[in-house]
Symmetry: D2
């Protein structure tokens, strides 16, 4: 008679949660595993949409570690602080496996807390390439992990080449599962929150998501993007930047911008609503990984600005441009002219959650 | 007119100091660089020979982080604690480059503290392979580093294959520089400290160094090794284990052992004395990396016991055996019969320190 | 020949800085002391006015420790995190004396970091009484301190009664020195920043400052205060709450309030401008200690709402009311009818900074 | 219907455990309370007798925080580190009351972790006076506590005078309960462990316990004590010093001492055995609080050396001397001549545990 398996999942940011949701669902649907969900870092914070409030699963522990005054120094300090707290929690819990997702600086804290204690570590989204500090963190986490669940074939191949320990199992990205579900949701017409005039989403509109990148000073970037969008006389749904160092600069610029087109600003939307909006948008402009991953599946045209997604595998729906108003405007026109792309399964076919759950159970 | 370069070197353990000494000397001999030496973790502790007391260079800061009760949990906690303190120190110092050495769990704290703050990180001894948790840490550090200074060609090749960022420059290991110097020291006859009867080192003797390995329960190991040595009726110079998790088990066994041969126990010797002893020993028995690295250069016969050095490149001076008294005893006999080996330059030719200093100055 | 004395001052919040400014000036005017100013916690954060940007003195170190998601748990964590970092910094600096100010939770981190290392600790504002968790922290800090620089005679008497170690020297509060200076500044007419319509400060207006108190749920409080103020048809200068646990609730309510009177919101003003405004206001309403301390000297009528200042010594300029719209409105009317009060030297006569500096130099 | 009360007890050192044992027993004997015992800091460490191994109650969590290389800096760092971990643990647990014991530097971490989170804090052994840094810590903890359970009337009076919050309830010290039990144990003749020749405890012997004090350099102290004992030609039972800063100096001296009298060294004995030995000894020499507290009840003559217990209330069984060989030798002779003292109830009558449990249950 075997003991029930015990799996701990550590979520350290809102986007990570979207990339594990369907795997959590699949684990909960099985009767033979105890899941301990640890919500940490920015996943607990109102400023970043406090995803912990929307989680339908029981939360085992909440671990605060995000420092105010986001800068490069605080990234290092908060990683250490999270490491100390997770080491305590995981030592107490002693699960059969710990799951960490993607590449934010805090993921390395989870990886150290688990692997230094000889608790097997599973890593989702390893082997990708974006050309930023995230690459280093992601690869460092892969080096500490025991089970690798990359999203693409190329990523799996890179992990093998890197010489990581343990099994590599390509699963696709669970966030694409949510994109598949969004396809069958009814169209959105208006969203009665956010700041600014309500956009009529049954018409044509652009979506803008732009996050800071650790390698660049983001001063002036969001201004260039929004002026470029403004040239096309379409309403803009703008999303607030994430919590990386440099975020304050972008947020400040957004506060003083005054584009002449209708302009609604959202901090966060629930994943289904957000992905449906991606599905409906004429184009998505900015540097979010959503443009690369979920939009490949959705077929939404994407204008990818700047270096942040550099090196990441992309489908034909993405046009890359530097941070330059004219170039961005021109690419948007190209994408408007092209219209929706064919669905592409590069980052998964919508059933990654089940594959992740199965791999975790087999190896844990 | 250029500003003087500023290089910070973080030493977190006694062996790491031996692997950077000649590079520090070479940096100090140049007039154009400020070196900030940070001594941290076990390098400050009496139990591990407090190497900070013997350092001839000015010490910029002493950072305490080693927890008592060494176990797997404390490794994770102390890495986090060191990260917090080093992040503060390096943020204040803002050097042009930070140097970290080898693969102990604390090295990842240095790597995070520097790389998350965009301070270029140089890593010595990357790309090696020992089959233990150290491999993971070493590779994770390599993934965060910007300048790689591996000891061997094979290690350089592995780093390139892994896809690390930045330059790779094979320098050899500075610890071999000390082995070269030891060759020209006068022979040691006795050492008037250590516990137990003084051995006459002008005669034939065995050296034993055995450290815990995170993958194995070390219970009974040191007993098997010492009984195997005892069969050869040679005096034994035994060195106290390092501070890894599991160290207490070995230390306890040493305290109750009572071999019938002369048996002198050392906690630590200064590097020159220690290496001279390696040079004079009939054979070195155990699982220390000194057997693999410095002894390759010295030509000392080595009986390498157990998994700890598994996968590490070795010269012909090493015979590998499992933790089994008879096997160890047989291998010792083989090595006694063979006698001293040819000098091998696998881990350097004795001039690595200068190469390391030159590479740091070029890239910083 | 004596060595120059070395004094480290740790500032962990904007208000603390105002309470040490003139003492820092007095220390810098002497030629015989080295001052190391350490800015920590919320004093570094934009959200709390980043007082570190306005400090005219050199800053020795910046220590980040404030966690996002302010709640009771994070107070404890951030105190520990600050303790670790300050212990490192002070061990490196080894000053002759460390100065800590007042009673925020972080002050205990400074007190532990200094006193546990046998570095003499000076404490300003000990011996006061406000009936909140601050009392406990303040008294705990006094218990660790070696030199006590209370603001009032009563506070000095309480410290003596408590049985603290070391000398007690009543100095008055250096923040009153700034109030004295504000008296001679030209009147303010408008302030061209802040949110909302610009108030004409040459006319009559009310000032509102309301902070959360750890013992009460602040829901509804700021609403009651602002409606009470609105009954008097005077413009309102409203100041954003400080960073205590509970601050988000007040901030949220402020965002949705829509009083019918002119209403300008400030995050922070430089101390001289702020105190001049206090001097000009018809009355100050809320629970800020400024109403109790600086306004006693300025003679500004104060309506003190709720428990936060309970137990603090006050002059006749303060009327106390519970959190009740009608009571607050009635008390405002009383204060309007009374008009400005006589200047009272309860918290100092405007020369505390010099007394603090002299005491520090004598004891350090 | 009331929920069961939940009480968390945090033990951070071996002596603290002895001072809460009978209260824990009394709580467990009640059916209406859940006790969460958290073992932290040196209570987990082999070097200090790992009291966690001997605890008959379930241990809720083990929290490692003790740094190696005990010095003044590490005390501050480890307090911060413990604070972070306990804040996490207590936030997760949210008990109705947290219990902390006595005055070691780590107790302040427990006090902050609980009181900053508004969890009521009970403090045993407040209000005492020893003239060392411990006084400051003890008083600071009292200032943060909500329920005070002092051992003596004088301590209760001091707490009241200090102006602490909450109830004060004199209970006596639960360690005296163990002394009462020891009275009815059969006499000890030999103890077959410890280092050195086995003493015949059925004969006359001296006991020595000497701990470092933060205010003094302990160099030479233990030597003076042991030479003074040696003059009386009685065998000596010597106990290893505790883990305060300075402990290494004493430990080193003990290792090189070579008194001419029989001399058996113990790291730790279980409390019953230890107290029985105190009961049998001709005299106890040193600076342990056991001499002041338990020995008052037992009537054992005590020669109290140096400043460490200065200011602590004492019964007539104690003779105080400075650290001076002749003075110590003379006082030992006085005590030998006097013989056993009358039982004194200054620190309790042997039923403190029940009183502590009752007070906790009433207030929690």
């Amino acid at each position: 008679l075997h003991a029930r398996k015990r799996i701990a999942v550590v979520v350290t940011a809102r986007p990570s949660y979207a990339r594990i949701t369907t795997a959590l669902e699949a684990l909960y649907l099985r009767g033979d595993v105890d899941v301990s969900l640890i919500m940490a870092a920015s996943s607990l914070l109102e400023r970043y949409g406090r995803v912990s409030d929307y989680v339908p699963f029981p939360i085992h522990a909440r671990v605060y570690s995000t420092l105010e005054g986001a800068n490069h120094e605080t990234s290092a300090i908060e990683t250490g602080l999270l490491e100390v707290q997770l080491a305590s929690q995981l030592s107490h819990l002693r699960p059969d496996m710990v799951v960490t997702i993607a590449d934010r600086h805090e993921t390395l804290a989870t990886a150290v807390a688990a692997s230094y204690q000889n608790i097997p570590l599973a890593h989702l989204q390893g082997g990708e390439d974006t050309g930023s500090i995230d690459d280093r963190v992601r690869n460092a986490v892969s080096m500490l992990a025991d089970l690798h669940l990359p999203a693409t074939d190329m990523a799996a191949w890179k992990l093998a080449n890197m010489g990581v320990r343990g099994r590599i199992c390509k699963t696709g990205c669970p966030s694409v599962d949510l994109a598949l579900r969004a396809k069958s949701l009814p169209p959105i017409t208006t969203i009665p929150h956010g700041v600014g005039p309500q956009i009529d989403f049954s018409g044509r509109f652009l979506m803008v998501l732009y996050h800071p990148d650790t390698r660049e000073d983001p001063t002036g970037h969001i201004g260039a993007i929004l002026r470029a969008c403004g040239r096309h006389n379409l309403p803009i749904a703008l999303f607030w930047p994430g919590e990386d160092a440099g975020q304050e600069i972008i947020a400040k610029e957004i506060r003083v911008l005054n584009p002449h087109v209708p302009f609604q600003v959202f901090k966060h939307l629930p994943a289904p609503e957000f992905l449906k909006l991606c599905d409906q948008a004429v184009a998505l402009v900015g540097n979010s990984s959503v443009g690369i991953r979920e939009c490949a599946f959705l077929g939404t045209p994407v204008v990818n600005v700047g270096l942040r997604q550099e090196g990441r595998e992309r489908a034909s729906n993405v046009v890359d441009v530097p941070v330059n108003e004219a170039e961005i405007a021109y690419a948007i026109q190209q994408q408007i002219d092209h219209g929706t792309y064919e669905r592409c399964f590069l980052y998964g076919d919508g059933h990654a959650g089940e594959l992740v759950a199965a791999a975790l159970m087999e190896v844990a």
